[in-house]
Every structure is written in C-alpha cells, then in structure tokens.
C-alpha cells in the first residue's frame, strides 16, 4: 500500500508537469486546483498508511537504477552545456569535477543490490509540507504569473509550471529516499530546477544569479559525492539507515564516520544557504515570488536541513555535533543582524530564512532528544510561516508596486485582508503562542548547556524581534492614501487563507503533531524520547513548561474585550498631532511647511546600516563561518 503511494507521489507531479506543457494557458487554473486536491490527498494517505521501509529490488531495481544513471548523466551534460553556452567558467569547472566524480563512482564503487525508500515520521512531515504548501503555492502562482509576465514582457509560463511540478516530484523523491545514490540524484535535480527558475527572467541579473546558485549548490554536491564515495568504499554503507546503524555499533565506528558525515552535512549547508554559501539565496530573490516561496523558503532549502537532521545519529553528542551546533547558531545570529539593515522585503525574508535554518541546524547539532525534537518542529512551522510571508510579499508587490518596506506604510488601509494575513504571518514568526516561538523556546532550553550556542541564540532572537516588529508596525500604520485597488482573486487568497489557517491549526494542535510525528522520530534517531509530558495545552519538559493554551485563551480574551468595549466609549476620530499644521481642507495628512505650502511627512524606520549593514558584517561572517566549517571537518577539534 505504501509502495503505491510512494510511486504515485513521484509520478503524479511528473504527470502534471507534462500536462502543464501540453495544455493551453487558460486551463492552468483548473490544473492547479486539481494538483492541490490530489497533492493533499496523496500526502494525507501517505501519513495514514503508516511508516515503513519500501525496498526496491530485483528486476524493478535494475530498471530504476538504470533510469537513475541515465538521469545523472543528463543532469551533468545539461550543466556542462549551459555553463559552456553562457561561458560561466566556475560552474563549468565544478561541472567537470562532478562528471569526474560520477565517472569514478560508476567505475570503482561497488553497486548495491537494492535501493529503498524510508518512510519515517520525518519523511511524512516533509511530504505533508511539500505537497500541501507546494501545491498551494502553485495555485497562487496561477493568479500571480500573468501580471508578472505582463510587466516584464515574457511568455515562458510553460517552462515555469513544468519546472515547478517537476521540482515537486524531485522533492518528493528526495525526502523519501534512503539510498544515498538516489538521494544524490534527486538533490541534483532540485539544484537544476532552482537554476532554471532563478534565471526565469532571462535577463543578465537572473542568469548570473542562477549560475551563482548552480555553482554554490554544485560545491555542496561535490562535497556530498566525495562523502558518499568514502562511505561506500571504506565502510560499505549506501543508505541513510546504514549510516545510523553503523554509527550505533561502537564509539570507534562513530569517530570514523565523522569526516564523511561532515562532508554530507556541508552538502546540506550549501543547499540550505548557510554562511558562507548564503549569497545564492540572496541572489535568488530576483526570481518570481512563487519561486521564492516554494524553493527558497519552504521546500528546497528544507532539504538541506532534512539531511542534517537525518544524520543526527552519526554526530549526536560528539564534538562534530557541537561544532555543527556552534556553526548553525553563528549563522543564526549573523543573518538576523544582517536582516535588520535591509529595506527590501524579500531580502529581509531571505536572511530570516537562512537564520532560521541555522537555528534548525544548531538544534540538530546539540543532539539531546529535546533539541532534535525542536529542530523538527521548527522545520514544520518555519516552512508554513515563511511560505505565507513570501506569498504575501508577492501580492503586496502587485498591489503597491514596490518591495521596499518603507513603501508599505499604511498598507492596512489599501488591502485590509492581505495586511491582516501578512501580520498574522509575521506575528507567528515572532510571538507566542505560535509554533515558531514555541520551538525557539524549546531550542533555547535545550541549548542551555552549551554556553556559546545559547548566547548566539539569545542575541539572534532579540534581533529577530526587532526586524519583524519594525515591519509589522509599518504595514499596520494607517497613514496612506487609497489609490491602489487590491486584486481579489480566489487563486490568490485561497492559498493565503489555507496557509494562515494551517499556522493557527498547527500551533493549537502542536501536542498531537508532537505525539504523532516528532516523538517517534526522535526515538528512531536517538533511541530515547524527550521527556515531554504535561497535560494537553502545556508543553512540559524536565526543565521547563510552556503554557501555550493559556496564551491562546488570553489572546482570544483580548480580542473579545476589544470587541465588547469598542462602542462603550464612542470613538471620535481626529487627525494626528502635527503641531496644529494639519491641512484641514483635504485629508489632514499633510502639514503646512515654512513656505506655506503643504507637504507630506514621512518617517522611516531605523536600519542601522553602519553597524549591521551588509558591507560591515558579510566579510566577518564569511571568515568565521569558513573557520567553523574547517573545524567541523576536522572532527570538531576539542569543542
């Protein structure tokens, strides 16, 4: 039963990608709706089907293995061809290295007899995220891309939808694979999709950024393939569960695995755009917003941290784990600091994504059951909230024509529903009782025994509060004129509402999610369960308790009190204080200046670019992160 769902999960998105190419543009809307419904149905049926390993052996295996090899060759050829065409020498060089490694693997590494798909709770969680959030984003795209292409005089939607659906197929395969070789193939396919989608505009900036993404991801891919080769030749391991079993045998085995596992983790870091690989994610923001929402916040970058979490048995409670934790938390604090100085909304979200992924890696690196549980919960909550925020930013850009936070001032008057949903997204990243803060709390409590990590997390958390509340206040301030008409399309608002309701739903039912997915998965990875007890509504561990139900109740109470007392004191609307110089003839928003004419007052937020600006912090970040990676590679010397 699971086998069928696994096959369907890979084949159905491929089918849809072909349908998107074959059918005319007017039918895309209906295709997207069908895709959403089928995606939800498939992922839910996978979850309900239970966990298990799906082996692929015998003649089936031979056929699929050949397909995999052919696809690998095609991928490498595509990379070589496209980098030669655009004369991008670094990518060409990396492509040649990849080809050499592939040839070496084909020649020297002994082939396995079977492959397998491992459907454990983490895979189920990722499938839910990829298929529900992913198909919702494709639905959003049908309402978004027409206007996007109109502005830029493009007509490439066929390739867009083909690649997005193909990407979903690759992503599904990635999170379900257990065999390292197949994992690597799906990994490279997602890199390829990312390249095609980033350079969607076909202008110079898009192509350059596409190549930067391709190159940096190839660096990660090269590290990964070296790690896979080492594992296969020296230890005869060809699957993720194999790594876990081998690591569990004895301490010597665990120490021996440190280098190849570190190389695999570097592949994960590159895919998740951690420092020093983060520039590709920032460059990827030139892509259309659905691409940013799908690839660069909810799914593809989650693949990197997915791999790092899956490898937890190999480095938990070792010095490599501590090195990874310090590295992740350093990225968290540096990227939160960098996000403070940004005015472009998508760059803020990009830095925030990198920071939260760093937090996930840090929690995974700490290695205690509580910490690993925190990292998995954060994967889920962050994917939903960040996807929602990216979609809202795209819609805001269509409404006011700008991505600058300062131009979003007064959005609540122009597009109330959109602003409320965006505000919900931002509040969910920042404040209790929502999931992201709950997992941040769990991470902090779990990290308390490691002083360097906890100090970084504390600083990063304070910085996060700043840049989100700045943005939140700006969109909720009410000083703007209403000359933009919000486009109210169902394809736009349905995905936004689905994501917003998922945020609230997952935050309320966090205990069920924990019991069903997270607890068992931590047991599989580490062998013992975090001590989460407590009545439903209070998240109690051995060192603390979070009463999230009380906070929900009080929030609802505040809303009720406001609605009840709203008319108790009849409000009288006045204009705001501008020393009496408001222009009373028109809208009272302008003030009379010294020359007796009227002008608008504008106040911008504080960005502190001379302290937290990119030019100041990026070099420092590169230096420290490279040092930390070298330390991790050396097995976490002495940490």
């Amino acid at each position: 039963m699971i086998e069928n769902t696994v096959m369907l999960l890979i084949i159905v998105p491929l089918l849809f990608s072909l349908l998107f190419v074959a059918l005319p543009k007017s039918l895309y809307k209906y295709l997207a709706w069908a895709f959403f419904i089928i995606g939800v149905a498939l992922s839910v049926s996978l979850v309900l089907g239970g966990t298990g390993v799906v082996p692929v052996e015998g003649p089936n295996f031979a056929m699929f293995e050949n397909i995999v090899l052919v696809l690998e060759v095609l991928v490498i050829l595509f990379i070589l061809a496209v980098s030669a065409k655009y004369k991008n020498w670094p990518t060409l060089g990396l492509g040649i290295i990849s080809a050499a490694l592939f040839a070496y693997t084909y020649a020297n590494v002994p082939g396995a007899e079977s492959a397998s798909f491992n459907i454990d709770q983490l895979a189920q969680l990722m499938i839910l995220i990829v298929n529900i959030v992913g198909t919702a984003i494709i639905l959003f795209a049908t309402g978004y891309m027409d206007q996007y292409e109109e502005h830029r005089h493009l007509n490439r939607q066929r390739i867009f939808y083909f690649t997005m659906s193909f990407f979903l197929a690759a992503m599904n395969g990635l999170v379900m694979s257990d065999t390292l070789g197949w994992l690597y193939l799906f990994w490279e396919l997602t890199t390829l999709c990312s390249f095609v989608l980033i350079s969607y505009n076909m202008d110079e900036e898009g192509i350059n950024n596409g190549f930067r993404a391709l190159a940096l991801n190839l660096v990660g891919g090269v590290a990964m393939s070296i790690g896979i080769i080492m594992l296969a030749t020296k230890y005869d391991i060809s699957s993720l569960t194999g790594i876990a079993t081998y690591a569990g045998t004895d301490a010597v085995a665990l120490a021996a695995l440190a280098l190849p596992v570190a190389l695999l983790c570097i592949g994960g870091f590159a895919k998740s755009a951690q420092m020093p690989f983060h520039s590709w994610l920032l460059g990827a923001m030139v892509a259309p917003t659905p691409v940013s929402a799908l690839l660069h916040s909810s799914t593809m970058v989650n693949a990197g941290v997915f791999l790092v979490v899956k490898l937890v048995p190999a480095y938990a409670n070792t010095s490599l784990g501590t090195a990874i934790a310090v590295y992740g938390s350093f990225t968290f604090v540096i990227c939160s600091a960098l996000a403070l100085s940004q005015r472009n909304a998508k760059r803020v979200l990009a830095y925030s994504t990198i920071a939260n992924l760093g937090l996930i890696i840090a929690s995974a690196g700490i290695g205690t059951p509580l910490a690993v549980a925190a990292s998995m919960m954060l994967i889920l909550f962050h994917a939903i909230s960040k996807g929602l925020l990216f979609l809202c930013t795209g819609e805001i850009e269509h409404t006011i024509g700008s991505r600058d936070i300062e131009d979003m001032s007064g959005l609540i008057k122009k597009a109330p529903l959109l602003t409320s949903i965006a505000a919900l997204g931002m509040i969910s990243m920042l404040l209790p009782p929502f999931g992201v803060l709950l997992t941040k709390w769990v991470s902090m409590e779990a990290a308390s025994n490691n002083p360097v990590v906890i100090v970084f997390i504390v600083l990063g958390s304070a910085l996060t509060t700043v840049y989100y509340s700045k943005w939140l206040g700006t969109i909720l301030s009410s000083s703007m004129d209403k000359n933009a008409v919000p486009h109210k399309k169902l394809e736009t608002y349905f995905p936004l509402s689905v994501l917003a309701l998922s945020i609230i739903g997952t935050s309320i039912f966090i205990f069920s999610i924990y019991n069903y997915f997270i607890g068992p998965q931590v047991e599989i990875l580490l062998g013992n369960v975090p001590n989460i007890t407590g009545p439903v509504g209070q998240f109690t561990s051995e060192i603390g308790a979070f009463d999230y139900a009380a906070v929900f109740v009080v929030l609802a109470l505040a809303i009720l009190i406001y609605l009840a007392t709203k008319n108790m004191f009849t409000p009288r609307i006045a204009s705001y204080y501008m020393c009496g110089e408001n222009n009373l003839e028109k809208d009272r928003l302008m003030f009379r200046n010294g020359l007796c004419s009227y002008e608008k007052s504008s106040v911008s937020n504080i960005y502190l670019q001379n302290i937290f600006g990119e030019s100041k912090l990026t070099t420092f970040g590169y230096a420290i992160s490279i040092i930390l990676i070298v330390i991790a590679l050396a097995g976490g010397v002495g940490l």
Binding site: P432, P451, L472, G473, V551, V554, Y577, L589, S601, I606
Partner: protein, 287 residues
Amino acid sequence: MNDILTIILVLIGAPILGCLASGIDRKLTARLQGRVGPPLLQPYYDVRKLFSKDNMVVNPSQNFYVIVYLVFIVLSLLMLVFKQDFLMIIFVYTVASVALVVGGMSTGSPYARVGSSREIMAILSYEPVLILYALAIYLLTGTFKLSALLDKSSPLLIYTPLIFIAMIVVLNIKLKKSPFDYSTSHHGHQELVKGMTTEYGGPGFATIEIAHFYEYVFLTGLIFLFWASTPVIGVLIGIIAYLLVIVIDNITARVYWQWMLKLSWTVLLVMSIVNIAFLYVSGAQLA
C-alpha cells in the same frame, strides 16, 4: 479555589500597588526638586479623569493594541505569581511590549512612529539581558521553572551580582526613565511630544496607565527573585531598586538611543556573559 483567590488578589491588588508606586515616584521626584509635589493618589485621579474624557482616536482600531498590551502584562504578572517557566514569562512579556510598539505605529503619526522606532531599539537593548537572566536561573537550579527557585534557601544574588547590576539598568530602560526615556517619557512628560503614546487619549491612555501599574509590580517582582529565599529581603531589594531608579531618573539627562544601544550591547551584555561563564565553569548550584 486558592488559585482563584490569588488571581483575584493579584488582579485587584497589583494596580493599587502600582498606583502607590507611581505616586511615590512623583512625590519623591518633587521632594528631590524642592517642591511639594502632588498627592500620593494622583495617578489614580489621573486615570479616573482619563476615563471620563472623550475616546479620541486617529485610527479606529488603535485601542486594540493597548488592550492586548494590558492583557498580556496581566498574564505575565499572573504567570510570575504562579511560578511558571521564566523563559515563557519573558516571551509573553515581549508580546506586550511589541503590542505597544505596533499600537504606536498604527496611528500613523510621525511622532508616534519615531517613538516606536526608538522603543524597538530599547527592546533590542534589554531583551538579551533578560534571557541571560533566565539562563542564570537555569544554570543555578537546573530548571527554568520558578517553583524550583522559590524552594531554595540561598539567594540568587550571591551568584549573579553582575546580572543584578545589569537588571537594574534594564529596569531603567523598561520603566522609560532617564537616561533612557526617549521613546516616550512618562516622568519627564514630554519627549517627541509624547513619543509612542502621542495619539492616545481618554480611555486608551487610561488603559496604558493601568498597564503601567501592573508593569511596575511585575518588574519589581523580577528584582524580588534575586533574593526570593527570604521574601522580606526580596521585597526590600525590590523597593530599594525602585527607589534607586527614581533617584537615577532625577540626576541624569536623556541621552541618545545610540548610546543606550552601545552601552547595552557592550557593557551589560559582556557583564552578563561573564557572569554566565562563571556559573557555567564553576557549576555552582543553589542550595
């Protein structure tokens, strides 16, 4: 039953205590300046007057944010009284602070927006110190839950003197008193007109004042935790800290927020980290 009585006691008693604390603040300030000063219950008269004024608003929904501010400060105070997880209390308190900041920005007034931007900088300054305080409690008692802290027999202050000094400065920042009162000055009465709260009048401003009363009790409670083993001394330390804050208020001038950010992220943070490092290395535990 006991719990409900405690809740009612806190809900009614805390604003009374806060009102008296605010009144003592104004009286003491007046005496330090050689004046007679208002009667002790003056803050109560202020709130009563504000409720009888018109509900003047700029943005029809601006009072929502101050209601959230009030409700969440009450919640964090109740959680403190019921000895919940300290880190959770800090995060719930952050909701209240962010709600007030967003409320200020929601009016759209230029003064309010500048005031709110500065208050965000204040949040950036004090939040690391607060969380490191929670971490110190964890390192000393092995848990974040305050119920464990209040069972111990030796005081927290002996092991965390540097964090105590940092918390006194944080108390200054949170109460918006000189030298850190540039987002809205309650005590000096005018900074950027009234900063964040410029556009709040009538019942909205009364709600802010009542929330301030609860906040005085909450913040003094945070200082009380430093000597929670003997409640009398704890309360005494809390009162002395509050009086110290009033005196500092009167003898210093308002400074730039950049100075506050520098002070907090160099001096206060380094002091707290040194203290934490000492706790971590020595592995001390509270008896």
